[in-house]
């Protein structure tokens, strides 16, 4: 039997580790984009995912994954396979976003070179939508100072280059 290996949309580039920051491409079994829900839809989501709809900037931790606010009246399920709840416009975007986990003590300095939002705002339970270089991005706070970064899959290569450049710059400053 062929063993199928989950691949991050945009491929599985090797991790980047420069100075005190590291970027690993990660996979999620399911990315389900939710919008246009009514009260019944929100209840269906709570039943299917085990969490309520997140408010602006919030990420709800669920048994099988995370439900992140990603825009005005929009949320993104990142986690285990989930049936699309009734009463919600749900779109499978599993191939649409590239996910990268940034970790290490230099993460705030690296992000400060890439986004116009204070990286200190991106803590566990919080999500920020902002411009990363020139890309629309989703930044989700994770434990131990890590941040999950999502950009459109078509820009995965650009994200890798931008991260590498920012990480190199921060590491170079450390050597002065």
């Amino acid at each position: 039997m062929v063993e199928l290996v989950a691949e991050s949309p945009g491929g599985n580039p090797p991790p980047i580790e420069i100075g005190g920051a590291r970027a690993d491409w990660i996979t999620a079994e399911t990315l389900l984009w939710l919008s246009n829900w009514d009260d019944a839809g929100a209840s269906a989501v709570a039943e299917a995912m085990g969490v309520g709809m997140p408010g602006p900037g919030e990420v709800a931790e669920a048994p099988g994954g995370r439900l992140a606010w990603v825009g005005l009246d929009q949320a993104l399920w990142i986690g285990a396979a989930a049936a699309a709840p009734v009463g919600v416009a749900a779109m499978d975007q599993g191939d649409a976003w590239s996910l990268v986990r940034l970790s290490g003590p230099d993460v705030p300095d690296v992000l400060a070179r890439l986004i116009p939002v204070d990286p200190a705002e991106i803590v566990p339970g919080r999500v920020v939508r902002t411009e990363l270089k020139h890309m629309q991005s989703i930044l989700i706070g994770c434990p131990d100072g890590a941040v999950d970064v999502a950009v459109f899959r078509s820009m995965a290569g650009t994200l890798a280059r931008d991260l590498e450049e920012a990480m190199s710059s921060v590491a170079a400053r450390r050597m002065i």
């Binding site: 602006p56 825009g71 929009q74 116009p116 939002v117 920020v128 939508r129 902002t130 411009e131």
Partner: protein, 87 residues
Amino acid sequence: MRVPCPICGSRDSREFYYQGAAVMLNRPDPGAGDGAWDAYLHLRDNPEGETEELWHHSMGCGAWIKVTRNTVTHVISGAVLAREAER
């Protein structure tokens, strides 16, 4: 320049697309006549002072917002979601 998004809070203006005068929220009746439609589509005031305009938080939450900005000082004195703005 900082723009206060009612959803995301104070953000750098680079995250926004600037649409123009907020008169676009007040669409005339389809039968209002050529004069009303011409004014709606093409005629704009060029105020010195406070003006209301539409910005789109295109790099952020995706909301259209109605911003009150002073064209002399660039002071932004208010912002509301376009869908909640008075028409």
